[in-house]
Symmetry: C2
Subunit: 437 residues, 2 copies
């Protein structure tokens, strides 16, 4: 049994958290590898080390005050060194960073938060550090080169009983440091899991897992116990995010489950992201999510259904403007295309004109302020009355459903409502279907 762990910035913000991490690692000897983020906020008004580093880059570029930023970074790590009673030449590390400012490299600087944190964690645990720039490889398009990364990572890590790996960055073929987008240490955790052939990837953060609904709308929502990759993708797409979206690919291919855990409540089981979509564990409804800011492009045309290719033309015109569509429910003489208003914005008039020209609809209009609510649960299909129940609780709340889309995949049920009814809809569904969550 091999477990890879990844600890986020809030789990590594201070010495207390380092101690919690050590206790977690010691509790299960299968936890042999740890990927670390840069130190996060210690309190609400604190600044993340990575943000200090980006500010440092800006200051260096614009001739600003780099010294006070270097001092702030030094102070953050010095606190850790002192509190953890480590022997570490922090000054030399900061000097290296200072010297690089002559010709500042944004991604290199951004990566130093994880780099230094891994150094300290390595000293604190007495585990060797393996710099991720030695195996996380970016290609010429600045994208992860999976095959090269997995090969080099396996070669480096598999022989080690333990390792501390900084997250977030890697290097391109000429050795220049490249970073993932923010939160990218999740990806490093996935990569390490895959490289060492882990049985489980534990992603330690500051929440008890994914929530079944948005806590800003529903008070104290339940935690999701188990979720499939596909359900996670559906919920993440609807704004319920817990992992970096690119973190799934490496482990999905390898069939490695992920456990979202809380560093501050290590006895909580967290959320288990199942390795297989055929695993039937879980509740009928896994989670509820949604988003606002959608627009409905509605085309009406008499005898539309006799015009083969009508729908294809509509979607092609949207695609040619780079506008993805969410759903396209149709009726016999009506076609709706739901898109994100933000995607439409600059192209709105051009798209309307092109649609008119190409399709001669009797009527075309764009209605904004539409919201989507998604009820996600791969087991929903096993309970035919559930969709009825969802619609009933929404109806009971006096909300008019503008569109319903339940696809053959049956992993979810999507409702469109007027934006002003969005929170009310989510609340009605959550409260009305608690027993299934």
């Amino acid at each position: 049994m091999i477990i890879t762990t990844k600890f986020g910035g809030s789990s590594l913000a201070d010495a207390d958290h380092f101690r919690k991490v050590k206790a977690i690692l010691e509790k299960d000897p299968a936890r042999r590898y740890i990927v670390v983020s840069a130190p996060g906020k210690r309190n609400h008004d604190d600044i993340k080390v990575t943000d200090l580093l980006y500010s440092l880059y800006d200051a260096a570029e614009k001739g600003g005050d780099t010294e006070s930023l270097l001092q702030a970074i030094y102070d953050r790590y010095l606190e850790l060194v002192k509190d953890l009673d480590l022997t570490f030449d922090l000054g030399a590390e900061i000097d290296t960073i200072r010297r690089s400012l002559v010709k500042p490299e944004k991604e290199y600087l951004a990566s130093r938060g994880e780099y230094l944190n891994a150094k300290l964690m390595s000293l604190y645990l007495g585990w060797p550090m393996v710099d991720c720039s030695l195996f996380v490889t970016f290609d010429d398009h600045h994208l992860l080169d999976g095959p090269a990364t997995y090969q080099k990572g396996s070669d480096l890590l598999k022989g080690l009983e333990h390792a501390v790996v900084p997250g977030f960055y890697g290097a391109d073929k000429s050795g220049i440091i490249r970073v993932f987008s923010r939160g990218g240490s999740d990806i490093t955790g996935s990569i390490v899991s895959r490289c060492v052939g882990a049985d489980l990837y534990e992603n330690w953060t500051d929440v008890n897992g994914m929530l079944t609904a948005d806590p800003r709308i529903v008070s104290d929502p339940k935690t999701i116990e188990t979720i499939s990759y596909q359900e996670l993708r559906e919920l993440a797409y609807m704004g319920a995010s817990v992992l970096h979206e690119d973190a799934l690919a490496p482990i999905r291919q390898a069939g490695i489950p992920v456990n979202i855990r809380n560093t501050n409540q290590p006895d909580e089981p967290g959320t288990m992201i199942l390795a297989s979509d055929t695993d039937c564990r879980g509740h009928l409804i896994t989670g509820i999510a949604g988003k606002k800011g959608l627009s409905n492009i509605q085309l009406d045309k008499d005898l539309m259904n006799e015009e083969v290719g009508f729908g294809a033309k509509v979607l092609s015109i949207l695609a040619s403007h780079g506008v993805p569509y969410e759903h396209t429910p149709t009726s016999i003489d009506t076609m709706s295309v739901l898109v994100e208003t933000a995607d439409l914005e600059k192209e709105r008039e051009a798209i309307l004109e092109e649609l008119k020209e190409a399709l001669h609809p009797d009527r075309i209009c764009i209605e904004d302020h539409i919201a989507l609510a998604a009820i996600v649960g791969k087991n929903m299909a096993r309970h035919p009355g559930l969709a009825a129940k969802v619609l009933q609780v929404v109806a009971d709340a006096g909300i008019n459903v503008r569109m319903i889309d339940v696809s053959f995949s049956e992993v979810n049920m999507i409702l469109a409502v007027d934006e002003k009814n969005y929170e009310k809809t989510i609340t009605a569904i959550y409260n009305g279907l608690q027993e299934y969550l």
Copy 2:
């Protein structure tokens, strides 16, 4: 107030029916124009005059026994002439038809059923006959030339207090007789209604109107009292047909309502097809219909939703093979396209190959034996709980719903179920929602 009437073949099958027609016309002096079909079946084993005429054409083409067919046609009309006590040189009319057989013209022959029936009705009522070939004009593509038809028809008919017009046929610009597809007298009725500026088009047939469900599935379904054009189109598309589908265009543009009536029960109000889609008369559910024989093309691809243009490509490939789609529900990494299996048949393998080549799905498959059930009602949107109720009664019947599509037009709700559950689904919905029908 001007009412145009059209009587179908079963309403004109014998002298008794001619008498019923006369009584109906005399009951309301606003009924000033009548369009007639050819005589239909007098009993289950009878042959429609139009079918005799098509057989006559075939016999003439293949050197078969034309005389016995001419005799059968003669006998049908002779019975009417005798029973109605008319003075009419039927022999001369049959001779004209016989002479044409030297160089048989299929459409001319097919049109003689309506032509002769209009002659008899004209004599019987004492109303002038206006041959539809004088104004119903076909263009070079064998399609109705609306503007020419309406202009000529208005000129001919508007000055007449009464007129009898044969249905089903017209003439092209060189005077050659052309016919609509079977049931096309409905179109002639619409044309005459439009030409005379009718306030109402009464379409007299042998049923009390459109039924709320298929009587082969549901026993003794209620009659639809009022229905909008759009609802009618939705139901007709799902197989619940009562009017020729091309009969709606002329009157829809002119805003003329249609009343489907029963010649044998003239006191029944029948079904009123409303002139305006904004007319809110009617029940919450107008009708339930559906069809079998659908296939689901299912494409799964990881990160599909990030590929702008995916859906457009899929539908374009289908359109290039002439395959229209019914619905295309999507999930984040899944796209379903519902098509008629019959449309797919010859192209199945080619389409699969093209989709694979163009889109590289992780998985693609076609599932046959899908059925659709449509619950149609323009007022459904006013009752948010109705969709819930529909799903509940279907769930209570133990039927798994494979897809739900409710569009922004909100005129209908479409469910996909396995074909084997089709009748059960229709019955469950009809019985469970009787109160709304």
